[in-house]
């Protein structure tokens, strides 16, 4: 299989899932699409270096997180205003919804970027604490404290709404 065919097969198989991760990292569909495209483009440039095809997802996740932080640091690309309101459409509710969907999303939206990445990798990508620490180049202790703080914030938020 040649290089481009190999990459195309990965692209077709994984992009939908990666877009969802990008969306959770950015909180905005347009930014997510842009983040995904630039991350996949960088993956394509580095495709020959990624010899372990089983590790491609981890590699592109790392590009996405770094790129998202990089976008954040580049003043001229900063478009997102941090907000404590939910910017998307009305949250979807189903029979399992305890009224917490909007609260969870609001908490995620107001987390600092690095903490948000921790939550997304731990709770959406289902990475272990060690894998999350490796992906973000932070300590396991930081992963623990960030997730603990996010959970505490969520409990507080739900408590406030219940009162």
């Amino acid at each position: 299989m040649d290089r481009d065919t190999d990459f195309t097969a990965y692209l077709e198989a994984r992009q939908a899932r990666l877009l969802r991760t990008a969306y959770l990292l950015t909180g905005d569909q347009h930014q997510a699409e842009d983040l995904l495209q630039i991350s996949l483009a960088k993956l394509y440039l580095a495709w020959d270096k990624v010899r372990d095809r089983g590790a491609v997802d981890a590699y592109v996740r790392r590009i996405m997180v770094n790129e998202n932080n990089s976008l954040w640091r580049r003043a001229w690309r900063r478009r997102e205003l941090t907000t404590d309101t939910v910017p998307e459409a009305t949250p979807f509710h189903d029979q399992y919804d305890e009224g917490t969907g909007a609260a969870v999303w609001a908490v995620v939206q107001t987390l600092p970027r690095r903490a948000r990445a921790v939550v997304v990798l731990r709770y959406y990508e289902q990475l272990s604490e060690a894998e999350t620490a490796e992906a973000l180049d932070i300590s396991v202790g930081t992963v623990k404290s960030q997730t603990s703080r996010a959970l505490a914030t969520l409990r507080e938020r739900i408590g406030e709404e219940a009162r």
Binding site: L19, T82, T85, P112, Q126
Partner: protein, 375 residues
């Protein structure tokens, strides 16, 4: 409320996200665009030697617009940029200080005028303050490992985990505590500029919204929506970036703002992040991408290019750039294929650059800056 709640709600939120699939052509086109930008600084350059700079010297001596105003009085800048490399800091006066940190773990470097060295660390996630002899004086936890130096290097500020702002001043042992930056939720805001130890420009990361003092934050009412990138040495001009618009979606535009008259005095949509020279008469501009800097130019106060910093060689790029002094730019240059590095001092007079260090092999520039230049 549990981990399962997060897992379930994030999955449900994500499952609703759909978009037109990217084609291979889409991705390859974007990849080629990235390659072009990586090579932008070397396009058309075929010289094999590691050498920098194309200069338009006539503009340096002439000019108009803002140049016709009386030049800013020269501030007391005792040299300018320090360089961290191989666990040593070379100070602007040429002395060297051993500093036990790995560049891979350093985000930013600053040097106060009392000689103390301030390092924003990636790992551990802290701000460290070292004595002038390199011994660790204090270590501070942070909400964000970003430091902002004043133009005169007599104060440095960062955000504490409790979201208050800490300001360490020259000659003062401990940082002062300023109130937090007004922000919603858990966000902590950004320190865009330190005018002095008691006057900071702060914002939300997108726009500069207020001035923070020990008494609290006040709105910067009446000015355009922009984010302050740098403040001139005597504070009479601010370099700013505007929000991207439909016409300049990729980069937005940058400008110079006079806070007294509240007027934009110059604007350019081909200038990116901006940093004033120590004498306030020029600015260096470039865009950060992939942990390197592209399109490095020296601009005048009309934001017209007067010099272009171009490393020779098709695979060379600028890793970091800063002002060495009012007439020279300091650039660390890397070949991103072979990971060789040089540190070069480039005069605005068009003379050949001085290679201060290297070439030497080093790390992948996409991950590590072998030469970290002080803020």
């Amino acid at each position: 409320m549990s981990q399962e709640t997060f897992e379930r709600e994030l999955a449900r939120r994500a499952d609703d996200v759909h978009a037109a699939p990217l084609s291979f052509q889409d991705v390859r086109g974007r990849a080629r665009s990235i390659q072009r930008r990586r090579r932008a600084a070397v396009a058309g350059t075929v010289a094999a030697a590691v050498a920098l700079v194309v200069i338009v010297p006539s503009v340096l001596t002439g000019g108009h617009g803002k140049d016709s105003r009386a030049p800013e009085p020269a501030p007391p800048v005792p040299g300018h940029t320090a360089v961290l490399h191989d666990r040593k800091v070379e100070m602007p006066d040429g002395t060297t200080v051993d500093l036990p940190v790995d560049n891979a773990h350093v985000a930013q470097l600053g040097v106060l005028t009392d000689g103390r060295i301030v390092v924003a660390m990636q790992k551990p996630y802290v701000v460290r303050v070292y004595q002038p002899d390199g011994t660790l004086q204090q270590e501070f936890p942070v909400a964000s490992n970003a430091i902002t130096m004043s133009a005169r290097d007599d104060a440095v500020a960062w955000v504490d985990p409790d979201h208050t702002v800490r300001v360490l001043s020259t000659g003062v042992a401990d940082p002062a505590v300023l109130p937090g930056i007004p922000m919603p939720g858990e966000a902590y805001g950004t320190i865009d500029a330190v005018l002095d130890a008691e006057h900071l420009l702060v914002g939300d990361g997108t726009t500069t919204s207020g001035e923070l003092t020990p008494a609290g934050a006040t709105d910067l009412a009446g000015h355009d929506k922009f984010r302050v990138l740098d403040v001139s040495p005597v504070g009479t001009l601010w370099a700013v970036s505007f929000l991207p618009d439909a016409a300049h979606e990729d980069g937005g535009c940058a400008g110079l703002y006079d806070p007294e008259t509240r007027e934009i005095t110059a604007q350019s949509c081909s200038a990116y992040t901006l940093a004033f020279a120590p004498d306030g008469q020029h600015l260096v501009s470039g865009y950060y991408e992939n942990n390197m800097v592209g399109g490095v130019k020296v601009l005048d106060l009309d934001l017209r290019p007067v010099a272009t910093v171009e490393p020779a060689g098709r695979t060379s790029a600028v890793s970091r750039v800063a002002w060495a002094d009012a007439d020279h730019v300091l650039a660390s240059v890397t070949d991103w294929q072979s990971s060789t590095w040089t540190l070069e001092r480039v005069g605005l007079d068009g003379a050949d650059p001085d290679v201060l260090e290297g070439p030497a092999t080093g790390s992948n520039p996409e991950r590590v800056a072998e030469y970290i230049l002080s803020e």
